[in-house]
Symmetry: C2
Subunit: 441 residues, 2 copies
């Protein structure tokens, strides 16, 4: 096995490891091979760092003398930013230590067990303070399918296969999974022959994405090469880039999406580290014959071999008449046209400085087939083909009360399955608009 | 005089006030009627709040017992964010107190004078920590002229007069005036029949803008009405939205500008408060017959009467062969199609939350005539008509070593002139690119 890139495999990835936390063994998301980080609190206590293990959260801030002082200090912070700033060697040491501590052969688990909280007893928070949030557009099937709705003959822009297209998103409105999403109001143009109106969005959508969390930055004017990019990436979250398609269609020219996206972006509470993901690295997207080679600053042979991520993704929807979510789509991170390292190298190639806590969205991850699309805009062909649900209902776009749940996991022969948990959000009705506002003028 | 909106005039605006700091009297930017805030340091001392008065900075962090404890604490911070969070009543009290303290009839100026530093002896820093940076596109002459380069028959998009067009910018690369600007490299397409290349930008430009500084935010999902918008705005800075036109042209579709803008944005070090600007409020842009009325959420009669800003603006350029900058353009903030209150109300109308320290760029402020254009792209008609300089040189776009200086001021019969100082930056050569990268592939 090629295990020199991007990160080494070691004893923490051994599929035979078991934990004394019994619910971890065989857990679909959080076995001892995962060990993702999050920020939690219990009751009115302070926010601090926790590690998911089975159905529990280990309060790593409470373990005296287990970690180096700078790690212990970082674990007492209300965000992961300080820990992420300690660098890969420290993260690797900490992962080893955590793995030993939670293993079933650890001699004194009782010292740790009082610091286990059942996940249903804790409140999860935004895991890191986001400096800048950038959203890319690396899902080529999404870009092609959405482009074809607007430009059937020429769905992909000429730049798409050369430039990792991205734009700046809004960091203030990034929220943790579980936060309700108020339907936004905005300018929409229901009838192109009439002036726009101000009204609640009628075409509210989700977007299935991954978020790549930047750990360490660069100075302004100093690009990060693709070879160095992996040193600047800490982990991965699920990301729902909620989108109001009608607001987007009217506002986006010429400077891109703005209010159609900035009302909320949800991320999962657990950051799965690139160390945990090491067994699931895979080849970058294989460019079909005729596609251009990436420019040199986006080329790295090892990244081409193992820079991709083999992550399975699903979207489930629960309407108010359902008793549980129904899966409506599945796709794979292998359908991303650009690797995380390429996104990061591109982001900085002109000198833009990244900071710890910056978040890079992948763009909507859709498969080649319609049923593998990562948003309703694609699934329903722009709202023309309603999606039938098991409840007998249909959906073109999201309705009030609908809950969207993103899930992601990795599985591979010879390794334990690890997962991301849920990234969920329920749509609340739009804020009341004064009657005068809704009159078509 | 209508002085009830947006802020009252009071004794601090009296044009006859004089200061015991003699250089303030008749100073073009910083008379006692201005009192802008900035962050400065001397040598290796800590960053703290200062107020510009004449040629000096008053170290307001060092004045014991002059201000309320929360103000004194805020003045000892390394950014203005805490002070901005104290709210308008506090800012107004503080302005009154500063005005009294610096007046020529103040009984004991010697208590303050040791805390005066000549501006040439201090280092200025970024005045506030920027949460999110949004750049609008409210300069209608700029939008029209740039649009006409691409779409001669239909320069303005159909949404322009309805939607205050804006997009999210990059907050990490906002720098204070004086910071050198490294020419960015990126993907450009010199020959549309050939693939793109990675090379230093050949079409580097400035953009003359104002930045509106947000003081207090709103909760996610809770819009700020246009009537309330002024309570959330602290002050104004000059802003240079450096732009790489060749990178922009190739990357911007379909999601807007990204690397072409995020390599640097310069702002002036002194934040001129909306209190200081009160005498210079003026009518909003008068929409010509045929233009649509703003939708109701962007309408406020008082904002229409006095929501604009009468600020004169100039751009000067100093090439390496010049001994001083040459003015190459002048324009006016009265040419903004939308008021600051409209921009803020629009930004939040879908529920997006603002935070103290958020920065709203106005967009490039150009006049109706070509010589009043706020960027070289417009002045040179997309690089086709070189701008002749007094030195005998010409410019289509910026060359290495060029320094761009933005200036802004307000003057009006019956009031003292106040100004913003400089927002300057010099272009440094691009970082060396490995030879292999520059080969056209």
């Amino acid at each position: 096995m090629t295990n020199f890139y991007p990160l080494p495999l070691n004893e923490t990835h051994d599929p035979d490891l078991k934990s004394w936390v019994e619910s971890a063994n065989g857990h679909p998301d959080f076995p001892i091979q995962n060990l993702p980080y999050g920020i939690f609190s219990v009751g009115r206590e302070a926010r601090r760092v926790g590690v998911a293990i089975g159905d529990y959260v280990l309060d790593v801030s409470a373990l005296d003398g287990v970690f180096a002082p700078e790690v212990q200090d970082a674990f007492m912070q209300p965000t992961l930013n300080r820990f992420m700033g300690l660098g890969r060697a420290c993260w690797q040491d900490t992962r080893l230590r955590l793995s030993e501590l939670l293993r079933d052969d650890f001699p004194s688990p009782f010292e740790s067990s009082p610091h286990l909280h059942h996940q249903s007893d804790v409140q999860m928070h935004l895991p890191f303070q986001v400096g800048d949030y950038t959203d890319f557009y690396a899902g080529i099937h999404h870009a092609t399918r959405v482009g074809s709705l607007f430009r059937p003959d020429n769905p992909l822009m000429p730049n798409y296969k050369h430039v990792p297209i991205g734009y700046h998103g809004r960091s203030s409105s990034i929220v943790v999974s579980g936060t309700p999403i108020t339907r936004p109001a905005g300018q929409i143009l229901p009838d192109p022959a009439q002036p726009p109106i101000f009204a609640p969005s009628r075409r509210l959508d989700y977007e299935l994405e991954l978020g790549f969390v930047v750990s360490g930055g660069n100075d302004l004017g100093e690009p990060i090469s693709i070879e160095q990019a992996r040193e600047h990436l800490f982990g991965v979250v699920l990301l729902n880039d909620w989108s109001a398609r009608d607001i987007q269609a009217w506002e986006y020219q010429p400077l891109g999406p703005f209010l159609s996206k900035n009302f909320a972006t949800s991320i999962s509470p657990w950051v799965v580290t690139f160390e945990a993901l090491a067994p699931f690295r895979t080849a970058a997207f294989v460019r079909p014959p005729g596609d251009p080679s990436p420019l040199l600053y986006l080329q790295d042979e090892r990244d081409r071999m193992l820079g991709g991520l083999d992550i399975h993704l699903t979207v489930s929807l629960q309407t108010q008449s359902m008793t549980e979510p129904q899966q409506i789509s599945q796709s794979s991170a292998t359908d991303l046209y650009w690797t995380p390292a390429q996104l990061l190298a591109h982001h900085t190639c002109g000198g833009c400085n990244l900071r710890p806590g910056d978040l890079l969205g992948s763009g909507t991850i859709s498969g080649a087939a319609q049923q593998n699309a990562g948003c309703l805009l694609e699934i329903t062909m722009g709202g023309k083909d309603p999606l039938p649900l098991a409840s007998g209902e249909t959906r073109c776009f999201l309705e009030d009360g609908d809950q969207v749940v993103l899930q992601g996991w990795c599985e591979k022969e010879g390794f334990a399955r690890i997962g991301f948990g849920n990234c969920s959000g329920q749509v609340l009705p739009a804020r009341q608009i004064e009657a005068a506002q809704t009159v078509e003028q």
